[in-house]
Symmetry: C2
């Protein structure tokens, strides 16, 4: 570091801070994961499915992927361990991580959360051991985001005490269902429950889809979604039901029951509220996808930063100095702000996993408000992590040039596998609207915040006084913000309180103006309710992303507060400066429009960001080493080969200089003799 | 269109404008391309290579891919036809397009441009017929962008009148060489020419690498770059030479000759200038890559826009209206500005191809200034097209959700195949620096502008008074710009002259300030020449992109001027409004910082962009239909299936409504019975 700081930072000190509450899971994974789990390249789709299917059953227990299940059936009642174990698995193989998430998070998780004791007793042990492979069959070809409108029906017949599960037309087929095309023997199938001639909304049943010989059950048609852009090891399939008989007991009946005579009962009145309560219990899937995206971004950055530290480019004629990619300002701009954002989102994820764990292991009645906030936070961070990952991996691929396009250098798989994360487990745009709705209504929406955009009058009536709740390290942040002078121009650009206040003020302003516009729209566009929202959709989405930016900044600030090693603390503080200022710089148009930056201050921010890049450049490798991804896990040819290659080139060039005659062509350009 | 315009626009009228000077090539391709060239999904790498290799030899002549060659050998002396034929081929299969580009553009092109008559007589007919498959072996593992520093040597021995071609160490192996791993029998190999103990810089030789049985020639080791992220049909390989004997006559000797006694002569003094003159003749490769990227973006937008017009999402309860994806503001923001940019870049490409054709078919001495401008324009547009394509295809994939992730819907291949375009045929960042250098020096750099960043003092001395040259429809643009009042606030946001002036003023300001900063740096950082450039690298790159934005805007304005159909002209004018205003909006921070926008005007621009999106929404499908991509070429399952699927869903829903009993749960949310 070029300032007067005490020496370089030991990546191990940073790693301790990053490893967090479930550090033991991370350390165990680093030390003990067998080579068979390392990334593989060049497989066919069939080979990938075979390998992933086999490896799923060989995952070590101490990785934690089944830890969330109740102890009684083989779990550890430790949802946090499952989340963090998933993050480690995501460094190794994203298909395996997704398949594990389908099997245990979605399928097993649905049986736990939506089923009752007799389902748990009958199936959970086999699910946990992977003896019983299963799917989560909610999405239909015709309904993805709008799942409350799905069309599969399941109609009760009191005479036989069975349900009739039916796909009424081709668009209602279950689609993109992981574990369906090859392995699944049962599926949790979501359908509209109809009894006594009346629908009670979407419920879930446990339905056998394959017999022990692997043949489809009667009435069940299993199709294959075919080759995909990535996640080749996940067997996504399609399920169609032709009047399939389902015993009454197979209804997962925690939230809705059907008596033998067909009478329907439920502890939750209202189809919509019941459906979203059911969905809410599946929040872990969103947290897991966010964590996997975070891991993928870290893997990509580790590769790009280390390569950029080795790879020489355009050596300066006549200079002693070797220039490597990481020395270029444009290269730093590609990688360093993304690295800073990765740090901020990491700490936000750590807090989310912790909150999730505490909520899911708490006893006593569910705190509705807390649950809504958790769902909202999970949705917002899932969107942030996955968009950040796909953009960062893209930048890392470009930063590695042609080498980044070769499968053997890992980046193609990282890009292809994570690409779908922005639209599955919730389309990011829809998730941001969920976040916005929570902000607009203070999480007081009695319907739960997971529904689609609708009910204009309802939302307009519910919007209230805007009070931003601080998310982390509340008292510290309150102190920092309060200490900031009233006039922006008097504050140093590096003032943390000023950073926090800028983020807060932007969020507050966006929220207040969104509320004003929605109310105005409700008054003037009564005949066009769709337009009330649609006309401000961009504004609403920006409100949500501003909120998430603040969540990330506050989490990073809180993380720094917990850091005891002084050198690590100082480095993280500079990283935080970069995160805050590059985020403000990216949105300087908004801040200038709203009088929160003067033109001079805005230009000064750009200059300071460039200064920060220079300052952090020597620490780039330390910052990625701190992620603690074992080299073998990266399985990246250029990382193995480039340093040695550069050494050999330098040695060869030195030989040439020692033995060559001087060229007479000295005035016209570089010689074949290498610049030195 | 919602304004008082005369009726809808016939896509055929738009298509005529877009098809341009080589419309006959495009029409012939649309009507006559055989089904065997249609996209294929789910192949292994081996299958893709086999198919592409076979199809290369079956491409119809009237597609134009070999038209650039001299008539004498089977070409048509029509470089424009080759460029446009390549754009059409890029709609079908990007591996095939790239392989054709390697075989005829790079390999064949190098033989034409760098060789002399005896090379042409001996090889061109076989190259054109694809009987002789060849590679372009320039890039090395250790040197990609910095090719002037490549390490392969080729040393002349007068006693044997042969050269010794040698790879001095592993990092000097030729890498990422298309047509090498499977098919190539000869290669144009670039190496440092050494004779009489002295190097004369990089030259090219025609070197057999495989014999007629497919075995590697003595001393030649052929490796495989292995699986890649995309372009599976291109057999990228690695070439290592172990003291391979190359006859003297195999030197491609247009720009440098070696006499039997080893004496070197050249019409161009100076190794660097000679090298870049040689490279300059290969400008067609950059134009071709830009054109292919343009085609890929158009294919992706066609899919996403048509799907978004069919796919219903969150139907509004109780309303008559069906809501489809394209009705959402956020969806429009994903697709429409990208569509407008695609139009602007299309017209810029049309002009570039025309200029290239005219330059390459001109007789008489080469106009150096014109050549430099052409190289610069090709570099800048290659960067713009390829970044635009990869970002647009990403957005289109997300706009199509899970369906966009399935290979059968084309988007995965478009994304994977085009991903490398941003870093091959010139890394985009390096290309932008080339553009900037041309702007800074008025193309007066006697070295040619293709070299890497260097020679600080030279550049600083050469920078001159900034005069922006208008690129297209000069007199029209001059009139429009001159008519704009002095004060921005007095001008309507839709004023075309104001758009042009904003783009011009930004470019001029960036250029002038870049010059000031470079001169200041030259004075104060003499001891650190690398920092003179590096500290302003972001500024310099932005100058280049601002220039390219202006090139694109002027080309679109000129294209509108050529449009005779009134309805088409009005539609294109709105598209141009959207391109101009969304580009300004994206960079509003800069414009606000530099006093070219007030906060109020900036916010008004956002409002106007949203209005334009609404206005253009009904024309989205027309705008992509105008690209004229035959449906079969898209080979996209959702385009075939989604409209029918939606109809079936609507019919099914209508049946349900007709026969269902009303639910009593009316106060709590949507029923299973579909909304409306």
């Amino acid at each position: 570091m070029s300032r007067s700081h005490a020496g370089p930072v030991d990546p191990a000190r940073l790693r301790e801070v990053l490893d967090g509450r479930w550090a033991h899971i991370r350390k165990s994974a680093r030390e003990r994961i067998d080579d068979k789990f390392l990334p593989v390249y060049g497989e066919s789709g069939e080979q990938a499915r075979d390998r992933v299917s086999r490896l799923l059953r060989e995952l070590p227990t101490d990785l934690g992927v089944t830890a969330a299940f109740p102890v009684e059936y083989g779990g550890a009642a430790d949802p946090g361990a499952t989340m963090v174990g998933g993050e480690m698995l995501a460094h190794l193989d994203l298909s395996l991580m997704v398949k594990a998430g389908v099997q245990w998070g979605l399928f097993g998780g649905a049986v736990v959360a939506l089923g009752t004791r007799r389902h748990h007793d009958a199936y959970l042990r086999d699910i946990i051991s992977a003896n019983l492979m299963g799917c989560f069959a909610m999405t239909e070809t015709g309904h993805g985001s709008d799942v409350q409108q799905l069309r599969t029906t399941c109609t009760y017949d009191p005479d036989t005490q069975t349900f009739d599960l039916h796909t009424p037309h081709p668009a209602a087929r279950k689609d993109y269902i992981g574990n369906a095309a090859r392995d699944g023997r049962m599926a949790v199938v979501f359908a509209q429950l109809v009894t006594h001639g009346r629908s009670h909304g979407v419920h879930a049943w446990l339905v056998p889809i394959r017999d022990d010989d692997g043949a489809a059950m009667p009435g069940v048609t299993i199709g294959d979604a075919g080759p995909k852009a990535g996640l080749l090891g996940v067997d996504n399939g399609r399920l169609t039901f032709d009047h399939v008989t389902v015993p009454r007991e197979m209804l997962l009946d925690r939230y809705g029951q059907v008596a033998p005579d067909g009478a329907y009962t439920s502890p939750i009145p209202g189809d919509t509220r019941r459906f979203f309560t059911m969905l809410g219990t599946l929040v872990r899937g969103r947290v897991a996808v966010g964590g996997a995206a975070s891991s993928a971004a870290k893997s990509a950055l580790t590769i790009a930063v280390r390569y950029g530290d080795a790879r020489r480019q355009f050596a300066e004629p006549g200079a002693e100095r070797e220039i490597v990619l990481n020395d270029y300002l444009a290269h730093q701009r590609k990688l360093l702000p993304a690295l800073a954002t990765t740090y901020a989102l990491h700490f936000a994820q750590e807090e989310l996993v912790s909150a999730l764990h505490d909520a899911q292991t708490a006893t006593g009645p569910v705190d509705e408000h807390r649950q809504r906030e958790l769902e909202s936070r999970a949705a917002g961070l899932k969107a942030a992590h996955t968009w950040h990952a796909t953009r960062t991996i893209q930048a890392c691929r470009e930063a590695c040039g042609g080498a980044g396009y070769l499968a053997e250098n890992r980046l193609p798989a990282l890009k292809a596998d994570t690409d779908v994360f922005t639209t599955f487990e919730g389309d990011n745009t829809v998730l941001l609207q969920l976040v916005a709705k929570g902000l607009l209504t203070g999480y007081r929406d009695a319907f739960g915040s997971l529904d689609g955009w609708g009910r204009a009058t309802f939302v307009a009536e519910q919007v209230r006084e805007v009070v931003l709740e601080r998310t982390a390290a509340r008292s510290l942040i309150q102190r920092l913000v309060s200490a900031v002078p009233g006039r922006d121009e008097e504050v140093a650009l590096g003032d943390r309180g000023w950073h926090l206040r800028m983020f807060e003020d932007r969020e507050r302003h966006l929220l207040e103006s969104a509320i004003r516009r929605l109310r105005a729209g409700s008054a003037t566009k009564k005949d066009r309710p769709f337009d009330i929202f649609n006309d401000v959709q961009d504004h609403v989405l920006k409100t949500a992303t501003a909120h998430i930016d603040r969540v990330a900044l506050e989490a990073l600030v809180a993380g720094i507060e917990r850091t005891t090693d002084p050198a690590a603390r100082r480095l993280l503080s500079r990283v935080c400066d970069l995160y805050a200022l590059s985020t403000i710089e990216s949105d300087k148009g908004w801040f200038l429009e709203h009088g929160r930056l003067t033109p001079a201050r805005s230009k000064a921010i750009t200059a300071m960001v460039n200064d920060l890049l220079k300052e952090l450049r020597p620490a780039m490798v330390t910052l990625v080493d701190a992620f603690g991804i074992p080299d073998e896990w990266l399985n990246c040819a250029i990382l193995r080969e480039e340093p040695g290659r550069q050494e050999a080139m330098a040695a060869h060039d030195a030989e040439l200089r020692a033995t060559a005659r001087a060229s007479q062509d000295v005035l016209t350009g570089p010689e074949v003799l290498p610049a030195q």
